[in-house]
């Protein structure tokens, strides 16, 4: 396998982008990444997008967007693993460059979620759960995570204040990210005073509905060194993916996210790294309890210590292991297919030392964890500054 670097990063401001169609937000992120990389052609485009069919009524997406940037003719493929579609787009691009099948790959993620109303968006997202045996009975995504939260609380003593601390921390980080959807100071008490969505999760424990896109350009490391122009070269040293039953009823342990643990194990093994080597992480905080569970599965904290760690500032900027310096899904927004790509864009920005006010000082090894649905899939990447 060849060493693979990320030579370009493209992010745009996320939010309710009513004035722009999917094709435009995708193209803006793609062009930003190509410009950042200093290249004007690629061998392949991958597109992570969960459900363009349900959100905007468009399938055959990859060909359509390739044409939008004058690249009709270039191979392009949309990949889907629910909310982990972006991470999967990166993993597929990584495999193409590592194998030598392609040299330059444009990895993208996009979701346009506000062209449908809240009920239709909830339905589209709900298709990531088992529709026949979960959705049929009226369960929602907040509901599924709420059920896991209760198990975690009963087993470890995790509290609603600890969960709220995750949301407060990520909103504090989002205040420092100009691309974030929400620039709001949110306190633990604000979270606990917000509407109950699915007991014990409040509205402010939940990530929002967002329009957004993000992009990366991959290249073999040798090519990356030529194009770096004095900036640090960031390599992908580990890539792991795992699946799990998508129905909670089929899982052995509802207090664990086994797909995350397995994906992390595989990524750490490929990179030759361990949890304590990681300087900065972007993780899938679709709900506050998810960040707590994920930081445990990634090995940053022992089981049951994720909640106290968040409450005690260990995952804040300046803490032992800063988690979600971008603001996370909670504050930056969660355009489902774009999230996994944007997480990696943030890690590259951090490792390049270009994250401005939210910079994690001295970070040279980072990790991004993306999750599909209620944990039915997860993808973990480890990135390092090349020596």
């Amino acid at each position: 396998m060849r060493d693979v670097a990320i030579i370009g990063v493209g992010m745009i401001p996320w939010g309710e982008l009513w004035e722009k169609p999917l094709r435009t937000i995708w193209a803006e992120a793609a062009v930003a990444a190509l410009e950042d990389a200093g290249v004007d052609t690629v061998d392949l485009i991958t597109v992570g997008c969960m459900s363009p069919g349900l959100f905007v009524g468009q399938e055959h997406l990859a060909s359509m967007v390739a044409d939008q940037i004058g690249m009709a003719g270039v191979p392009a493929a949309r990949v889907e693993s629910a909310c982990a579609s972006g991470g999967l787009a990166l993993r597929n691009g990584f495999a193409e460059v590592a194998s030598g099948l392609a040299d330059l790959v444009l990895v993208t993620g996009v979701e346009k979620m506000t062209d449908v109303d809240g009920a239709d968006a909830t339905f589209a997202l709900g298709t990531a759960a088992d529709q026949e045996y979960e959705g049929f009975h009226g369960i929602t995504f907040p509901g599924l995570y709420a059920m896991m939260a209760r198990v975690h609380m009963a087993r470890h003593g995790t509290t609603v204040r600890q969960m709220a601390a995750v949301a407060a921390k990520n909103h504090a980080n989002g205040l420092l990210n100009p691309n974030a959807q929400y620039h709001l100071k949110v306190t633990v008490d604000d979270v606990l005073a917000s509407t109950m969505v699915a007991d014990p999760l409040h509205l402010l424990d939940c990530s929002p509905i967002t329009d957004g896109a993000a992009a990366l350009v991959l290249a073999p490391v040798d090519r990356a060194r030529d194009l770096a122009g004095g900036r640090p070269v960031v390599k992908i040293t580990g890539s792991g993916m795992a699946t799990d039953s998508i129905a909670l009823a089929d899982r052995e342990d509802l207090g664990r996210l086994r797909a995350v643990q397995l994906a992390a194990e595989r990524a750490y093994a490929m990179a030759g790294r361990k949890p304590s080597d990681i300087h900065v992480a972007e993780v899938h905080d679709c709900f506050s309890i998810a960040e707590i569970m994920v930081t445990e599965e990634l090995g940053f904290f022992p089981p049951g210590e994720g909640g106290p760690a968040a409450e005690n500032g260990l995952t804040a900027l300046g803490g032992r292991i800063p988690v979600n310096p971008s603001g996370g899904l909670k504050s930056k927004g969660h355009p489902v297919g774009a999230t996994g790509v944007a997480q990696v864009a943030e890690i590259v920005t951090q490792l390049r030392g270009e994250a401005g006010q939210r910079q994690v000082q001295g970070a040279s090894i980072g990790l991004a964890q993306n999750m599909g649905g209620s944990g039915g899939s997860s993808i973990v990447h480890i990135l390092e500054v090349a020596s």
């Binding site: 959705g135 049929f136 009975h137 209760r150 039953s245």
Partner: protein, 131 residues
């Protein structure tokens, strides 16, 4: 909208709690599967799920999905039946959702789940009631 074909196809599971038990390892699959997730066996015998069980975990969905607005808030539980099979169901006949808790004994009862509008197909299935 659930198609007539789907309603018909799912009736054995929805109406009668029919499942498949792996003859190799004894794992019960609800709904039936082609391959046993525990031992990858492919031989199954037909079984009907027991109706008694206990709540494993639950939530109260206060922002309901499409089609469930009039039933909101929905108390939904993951229930483990006496044979170890787990399934997700709504709770019914619970006056105060705060009384639902892990370990609570419940029984599955045949109930109306939902319908396609005023004049459409009515979906039946099972809900859990306090035992």
């Amino acid at each position: 909208m659930i198609s007539p074909a789907r309603s018909w196809r799912e009736a054995p599971q929805r109406y009668r709690l029919e499942a498949a038990k792996c003859t190799g390892c004894g794992r019960v699959c609800y709904p039936p599967r082609v391959v046993c997730p525990s031992c990858r066996g492919r031989d199954f015998e037909h079984v009907v799920l027991p109706r008694e069980g206990n709540v494993v975990t639950h939530t109260v969905v206060r922002v309901p999905p499409q089609g469930f607005v009039e039933q909101s808030p929905l108390t939904i539980a993951l229930v483990q039946l006496k044979d170890g099979t787990r399934l997700m169901v709504q709770m019914a006949d619970v006056a105060d959702p705060e009384t639902v808790h892990a370990g609570m004994p419940v029984r599955l009862e045949f109930r109306r789940i939902n319908s396609d509008g005023e004049a459409g197909v009515i979906y039946y299935g099972h809900k859990a009631v306090p035992a």
